[in-house]
Symmetry: C2
Subunit: 221 residues, 2 copies
Amino acid sequence: MRTRFDQQLEKLHVELIKMGSLCEQAITLAASSLEVQEENTLHKVAALESEVDAKEREIEDICMRLLLQQQPVARDLRVISAALKLISDLERIGDQAADISDLTPYIVNSSIASKVQIHDMAKATIDMVTKSIDAFVKNDLELAEKVIESDDIVDDLFNKIREELILEIQGKNNDPRAAIDILMAAKYFERIGDHAVNVAEWVQYSITGVHKSNEHHIADR
Amino acid sequence: MRTRFDQQLEKLHVELIKMGSLCEQAITLAASSLEVQEENTLHKVAALESEVDAKEREIEDICMRLLLQQQPVARDLRVISAALKLISDLERIGDQAADISDLTPYIVNSSIASKVQIHDMAKATIDMVTKSIDAFVKNDLELAEKVIESDDIVDDLFNKIREELILEIQGKNNDPRAAIDILMAAKYFERIGDHAVNVAEWVQYSITGVHKSNEHHIADR
């Protein structure tokens, strides 16, 4: 028989999946906005980002109620505090997507964006975000580790794009303004990957009770 | 007569001030590392960043104990949940400082760094971090608003540096690699300012019960 805690936990999982899907939509839209000028993309992403923020508040309330009403201990307490932490990573992912879409006006008219693998970065980071939330909902330690490993793919893509853009800048009739904004966009995607790794590390913590801090943020740079 | 809650809250304040001061040290060291090559700066900042992470765990435990043992409601509950949120902003500030120091090798040998106001950005962001924690400890709504307003100074400095670097790149015998890394450093400082604003917004929430989401992240870009 399911306890009240289990019911509230299921509600938490459902809302986390929704929050994750909002992030994925925001990343996808932001990425496409870098190549194709679309009406109101900036506003669409900003709207999604507000939805992400609202969802964070909602999930926070669920977690607080769980903490105060259910007095969880041990594993259950770790699950709730992990959820409280990972939603702030998801919220930042929404911010980063909005930051990327803000760069659109300067990038979309440049030929450079299509030359670099910005979409590969988007695809890779969306995959990381989806899997990291999956790992939490399914208590899948192996999947969490996969997410952490795949951060290297995103970091490698960033470094590759960075080198390509430096060549662009050094080349004839270069467009440093566009190149720099594309680099910023790539950096935001790399950050999204870092946040997905943070989520995966919170999953590890909720399952194992051990949190391997955020050192990878440095190690990979 | 002081209650057990007040005593634990005071402990929370003390640890938050320590965490803030660790962030300030990390920012200062990271900023200086961009202009003067020093032995082990990278490791010093990385060590400070680990201390920040450890302090976050410690404060998290204090907050969880407060929530579970004291069952706070209304204002008291907001104060604890605000603390739980703002420490993840402080933790990110530690990451950003480490990210800045990681850029040192590429920047320190370039003449460009000294030409831009990286140190003004460092000074401004350190000031924001200090004030935002002060505002929390002293329940100072006015000070929190000051922090939020001063984010414009940091954003303006970033845009100014950005334009200067674009000119550098376009100029003769340019060094795009160094220019791009300095731009990244400036971006990290701008992010630190954003996180200080987040802290200030959590202070507003803990006092007023209203949280004006993170829209400024977009509005300012």
